[in-house]
């Protein structure tokens, strides 16, 4: 390994490091990611029948708590008017939870996994079907 190679490698590493610091943060903050899931759960709780709605409200409560802990404002996730297609709302919530996975880590990703389990179960009850890859974005 020559001194020239080591110097060049160091310069590249330095430039790469500077680039990362200078670039704006492209990834949304965890609170923003959680807000999308929270909005979808609030829509489901407004659309679904009593038992599924209660389960969805409980998930929304946990998501709202996580948003607050991350410095976000749960009220930024709009509450929806009653009614609508409950299965479509459950599918939308499930997609939101799946999409949140790469943007969360640790306890927040574990929370997203629990949201997936719950929303998928609700979708199965509402449609009477199980799917191979539910929650895949359309």
């Amino acid at each position: 390994m020559s001194r020239r190679t080591l110097l060049a490698g160091g310069a590249v590493a330095l430039l790469a490091g500077c680039g990362e610091e200078d670039e704006p943060a492209a990834a949304p903050r965890p609170a923003e990611v959680l807000l999308r899931s929270l909005a979808a759960e609030r829509a489901l709780s407004a659309a679904a029948s009593r038992r599924v709605a209660a389960r969805s409200r409980e998930r929304a409560r946990r998501l709202a708590s996580a948003v607050s802990e991350q410095g976000g404002r749960p009220h930024d996730a709009p509450a929806r008017a009653d009614g609508g297609d409950d299965a479509a709302a459950a599918r939308t919530a499930l997609v939101a939870h799946v999409e949140s996975l790469p943007r969360l880590s640790g306890d927040l990703r574990a929370l997203a996994a629990e949201m997936i389990v719950g929303a998928a179960a609700d979708l199965a009850v509402l449609t009477g079907e199980a799917e191979a890859f539910p929650g895949t974005p359309a």
């Binding site: 390994m1 001194r3 190679t5 080591l6 110097l7 060049a8 490698g9 160091g10 310069a11 590249v12 590493a13 330095l14 038992r51 389960r55 409980e58 998930r59 946990r62 499930l94 939870h97 799946v98 999409e99 996975l101 790469p102 640790g106 990703r109 574990a110 997203a112 996994a113 629990e114 949201m115 997936i116 389990v117 719950g118 929303a119 998928a120 179960a121 979708l123 199965a124 009850v125 079907e129 199980a130 799917e131 191979a132 890859f133 539910p134 929650g135 895949t136």
Partner: protein
């Protein structure tokens, strides 16, 4: 920044690329996929309505593993006579744990949809057994 600093940075960069630790996330994902494929392969041997989905899950995981340059053996263990709902609960736990270890966004999303599928299988199995579909479900 002195020549000495640049040389040290270059040496560190070269050393990082030369060691297995530099590729750790990819290797970790491959190991997790191998574990999940073994579970799915075993699940395909059970005589249940979910077998076709389990085969699709195993195939999807194999495709993702192939993309990492690795192959999974096809040596499924017999599933035994465990009740389907209990088997699906074990799969749910395995995927929920795996989501905390995975790094690649695409693998994470696919694993998330498979977690959702197993949650739906559990609902179906519970309903077929005359049980509450949501027990112990978030």
């Amino acid at each position: 920044m002195t020549r000495r600093h640049l040389m040290a940075l270059g040496a560190a960069l070269v050393a990082a690329r030369a060691t297995p630790a530099a590729a750790a996330p990819v290797d970790d994902d491959g190991d997790v996929l191998l574990r999940l494929i073994a579970l799915e392969d075993t699940a395909t041997t059970a005589d249940t309505g979910a077998a076709a989905h389990e085969r699709a899950h195993a195939q999807a995981m194999r495709t993702l593993l192939d993309a990492l340059g690795r192959r999974a053996p096809r040596e499924p263990a017999a599933a035994g006579d465990e009740p389907e709902a209990a088997r699906e609960s074990r799969l749910i736990e395995a995927y929920a744990a795996a989501l905390l270890e995975l790094h690649d966004p695409s693998i994470l999303r696919t694993a998330g949809t498979i977690l959702a599928s197993h949650s739906q299988h559990r609902v179906r199995a519970r309903l077929e057994a005359g049980l509450d579909p949501f027990t112990s479900d978030p």
